[in-house]
């Protein structure tokens, strides 16, 4: 201030003044350029939060610079204006700088905290990076596991599975060696089964009770083991420095029986295999956690794959077994069928073969009886006759029984008189009974229907058999036969406990009881009665003959008739009661004509002669032909008689109403077929009737098969012929006449 009143005195302080002058100048310059720089750089960076602070700071600096600049003028004389400007500038500068100083107090902590946040974020970023790295590694691992699993599970062959596991593991984890130890059959040792590098591992075995192995087996994690333990020493140490780390994991060997429906297999299975994995030696690699996890997962997968393979093996084996069994069964069935058909053939042939000699024996014996014989000879001949009759019956019985056995027997249903059957049985038995002086009584219930539908012949056979047995085994006393319709309440029989017949509208159950006062039967023997060929061994019965077949056949007949038969006896000497129940049908109208096919007598309205009816007779036997012809002529038919099949085919025409042919001619049946072919329109074709002296089933069946309209048994009476023609002419019905 003093300097502004004086004239500038340069000489002493001129240098100092000069320097001050220059410094002030530079200060002002700097002070002006700093805000410029700031503005320039701030404009460049987009992110600077404190702009207005900058403005303030800039103003402060500018004003400072201005002050220093104005200071330049104060070195020399200056006017009052300059003084004022200087004062104002200084004043403003003071104000702004104080404001700035106050502002900075607020701002600097903020700025500092920005720094801390920045540090914090950097750390966070580093951490996230680390984690990312981890996830990526896990992802890698997962991929590897999937790939491994895929490889392992893509095959069901046990060896391939194991080999693939080792190979893939080796590749994924870059292992030096990987080995699998399987338990031996005895379960006491582990045997080296597969290795990665060696193709055919020598059969090293290691006892299973080693502590290290137990340690591995007791945990389901992969366990690091020492490279020196026996399971890890797979190759001779080739002087390598540090063997790589070794890890072992257990592989459960699941057995089929572990998979029960209700409990998932817990690892209570005792059998494990051991998988040993070795990292390359001389590398600083360590087992990472994710690698261990990979190994564990793979071990589990392998276990599953192995068990699948085992199951498949089982099922393939079972299937092969089944195929074999099927084959064997099929063969057995075919053999059985062959046997059955062979037996049937045999029976059929024997039937025929046995009957011819029987026939001859019986015929010749009867002839013999007619000749002159001494009493001795007569006795012998009579015995022969009786025996042969018995034999014939036996043959018939056996044949019947075999037919019953294979179910080929069918009942011949027809309407018959129920009372008449019993009366006939009585008549047949009466002579024998009276010889033995037995009292025979028959008791028919009043509500027993007069007519019924059933197999008359076999029902009679059954009744006859039962009554016959009663008579046979009774030495004295009485035999009583009762027959009645059974109601449901009385069906609760101890012996027939599983038989509950349901009477319905058109059926009824006939119950027949035959009680005798004879020798009785031991209750233990009762079940044997109905088995074929079995005889009760008591001496009383042995003499009475009988083949043991009768009751067996009865039982089968009764069963066919949907009934039951049983015998009750209180013991030896106490007589016995034979009871059977059969199901019979009720005919619709009780007084309908009882004839199944043909009226047995002359029809009420029928022609007695058939004038103009054209018939053709074919028979190669002259006499038969003449007789048949005469018969038909007698009935006033227009008869043409031919003796050969060719002639027959030539002569037959639509005008002929009937063709009678002897079917035992060489091509009798063939002619029938040809005639049918010739007249395809049924309405105009002549009826074809077979004349035959042979009534066996085969002939009848052949007739029906060939399509003949009827069969007549020779010799033919006038009445029979009349009935036949009447049926044809009037009713145009298919028929069969015996």
């Amino acid at each position: 201030m003093e300097s502004c009143c004086f004239e500038p005195q340069w000489p002493a302080d001129e240098l100092l003044m000069k320097y001050q002058y220059i410094s002030d100048f530079f200060i002002a310059l700097a002070y002006f350029s700093i805000p410029l720089e700031l503005i320039y750089f701030v404009k460049k960076s987009a992110v600077f939060p404190y702009r207005w602070v900058l403005v303030q700071f800039g103003a402060f600096i500018v004003l400072c610079g201005a002050t220093h600049l104005i200071n330049l003028w104060t070195f020399t004389m200056h006017t009052r204006t300059v003084e004022i400007v200087m004062t104002i500038a200084k004043g403003m500068t003071a104000a702004v700088s104080c404001a700035t100083a106050l502002m900075l107090v607020h701002i600097i902590p903020d700025l500092l905290s920005v720094k801390t946040r920045e540090l914090f974020l950097k750390n966070k970023a580093a951490e996230l990076d680390r984690e990312m790295g981890l996830i990526r590694t896990q992802e890698e691992t997962g991929r590897h596991v999937r790939m491994l699993t895929h490889e392992i599970r893509s095959t069901l062959d046990r060896h391939t599975i194991l080999r693939t596991t080792l190979v893939e593991l080796g590749r994924t984890l870059a292992l030096e060696e990987c080995a699998l130890w399987m338990p031996t059959r005895t379960g006491l040792e582990l045997q080296l089964s597969y290795t990665l590098r060696q193709q055919n591992p020598v059969g090293y075995t290691v006892p299973i009770q080693l502590p290290v192995i137990n340690k591995v087996f007791s945990s389901n994690r992969a366990v690091k083991i020492s490279p020196n333990c026996p399971v890890a020493r797979l190759r001779p140490l080739a002087g390598k420095y540090i063997p790589g780390e070794v890890v072992a994991v257990r592989v459960p060997l699941l057995h089929l029986s572990n998979f029960q429906i209700n409990d998932w297999p817990e690892l209570s299975t005792k059998r494990y295999a051991l998988m040993v994995l070795m990292l390359p030696s001389d590398s600083a690699r360590q087992w990472h956690v994710h690698e261990l996890e990979l190994v564990e997962v793979v071990a589990d997968q392998v276990a599953v794959a192995l068990s699948h393979a085992a199951i498949l093996e089982e099922s393939m084996r079972a299937r092969d077994l089944l195929i074999e069994q099927n084959f064997a069964l099929d063969r057995a069935r075919r053999e059985a069928e062959t046997a059955i058909s062979a037996r049937n053939d045999f029976l059929a042939v024997m039937n025929h073969e046995m009957r011819i000699p029987m026939h001859a024996i019986i015929a010749l014996s009867s002839l013999l009886q007619e000749t002159e014989l001494t009493p001795e000879q007569r006795l012998m001949v009579e015995t022969i006759l009786k025996s042969s009759n018995l034999l014939a019956t036996l043959i018939n019985d056996v044949l019947d029984l075999s037919r019953l056995e294979d179910g080929s027997l069918k009942l011949d249903l027809g309407t018959f008189n129920v009372h008449a059957i019993f009366k006939e049985v009585l008549n047949l038995i009466k002579p024998i009974a009276s010889v033995k002086k037995l009292l025979l009584t028959l008791n028919l219930a009043p509500d027993l229907p007069e007519y019924a539908i059933g197999d008359e012949k076999r029902l009679m056979q059954t009744i006859l058999n039962v009554v016959g047995n009663a008579v046979k085994f009774t030495k004295e006393g009485s035999i009583s036969i009762t027959a009645f319709v059974t109601k449901s309440e009385s069906l609760r029989d101890s012996r027939a406990s599983d038989f509950y017949p349901m009477p319905s509208d058109n059926h009824f159950y006939l119950r027949v009881q035959v009680k005798d006062s004879g020798s009785g039967i031991n209750p233990q023997d009762v079940p044997k009665l109905f088995t074929k060929f079995a005889q009760t061994q008591s001496s009383a019965t042995r003499n009475s003959g009988g083949s043991g077949l009768g009751l067996a056949i009865c039982k089968r007949f009764v069963n066919l008739m949907e009934g039951q038969i049983w015998i009750e006896s209180e013991g030896l000497g106490k007589g016995c009661t034979a009871i059977f129940i059969v199901k019979l049908g009720i005919p619709e109208h009780s007084n309908e004509s009882k004839h199944s096919f043909m009226p047995k007598g002359p029809p009420s309205r029928g022609q007695t002669t058939f004038p103009g009816v054209k018939v053709l007779v074919m028979d190669d036997n002259g006499v038969s032909r003449m007789v048949t012809r005469g018969l038909l002529v007698h009935l006033r038919c227009n008869v043409t008689a031919v003796s050969s099949s060719d002639e027959c085919l030539r002569v037959v025409s639509q005008d002929h109403k009937v063709v009678f042919m002897d079917v035992l001619m060489p091509d009798g049946f063939e002619v029938a077929v040809r005639i049918r072919e010739k007249f395809t329109n049924c309405h105009e074709r002549p009826f074809i009737v077979a004349l035959t002296g042979n009534t066996d089933k085969l002939t009848k069946e052949t007739c029906m098969r060939v399509g003949l309209d009827g069969v007549i048994l020779k010799p033919i009476s006038v009445e029979k012929m009349r009935t036949v023609l009447s049926n044809i002419v009037e009713h145009r019905r298919l028929f069969e006449v015996m």
Binding site: I356, P357, A360, M626, V627, I716, V718
Partner: protein, 152 residues
């Protein structure tokens, strides 16, 4: 009338005896029933045809049985024919012999066959005589004025 009734009874008795002795059976009766005004000689014709046939068959069979190797099939078929014919006219005895004859044929028993053949021939001759007697009686009856239906 006496002659007629006498003849009638004779015929009836004779026929009955033939039935009883087993020469004829029901079939023959049926044949007789077929006789009427239009065919009075029916039975005669049939019977003569039968005997012709029978003779022929017997001759054939005798020749077959005499040869070195017997063709039993042929013999069997002849027997079958004979059986058929005899049953058609009701010649019971011959029919029964035929049945036994067939058994021998099946068994290829030459002695048995020869024996049966002899029997058949024997029976044939017998039956022929008997029937001739019957026909003669019937002729007499008809000449005496009897009518055929009365014979049934």
């Amino acid at each position: 009338m006496d002659v007629l009734s006498h003849l009638h009874r004779q015929i009836a008795d004779f026929t009955a005896s033939l039935h009883r002795e087993g020469f004829l059976d029901e079939q023959f009766t049926q044949l007789q029933k077929l006789r009427d005004e239009s065919t009075p000689d029916f039975v005669n014709e049939v019977v003569s045809l039968f005997f012709e046939d029978c003779e022929k068959l017997v001759t054939n069979m005798a020749r077959a049985l005499e040869s070195q190797t017997v063709d039993f099939k042929q013999v069997d078929s002849s027997v079958h024919q004979l059986k058929g014919s005899s049953s058609s006219i009701g010649a019971t005895k011959i029919k029964n012999i035929c049945i036994a004859f067939r058994t021998y044929c099946e068994a290829k028993n030459r002695e048995g066959c020869v024996r049966c053949l002899q029997e058949v021939d024997h029976e044939r001759v017998l039956l022929k005589n008997k029937l001739q007697t019957l026909f003669r009686l019937e002729q007499q009856f008809v000449t005496a004025g009897g009518s055929i239906p009365a014979l049934q």
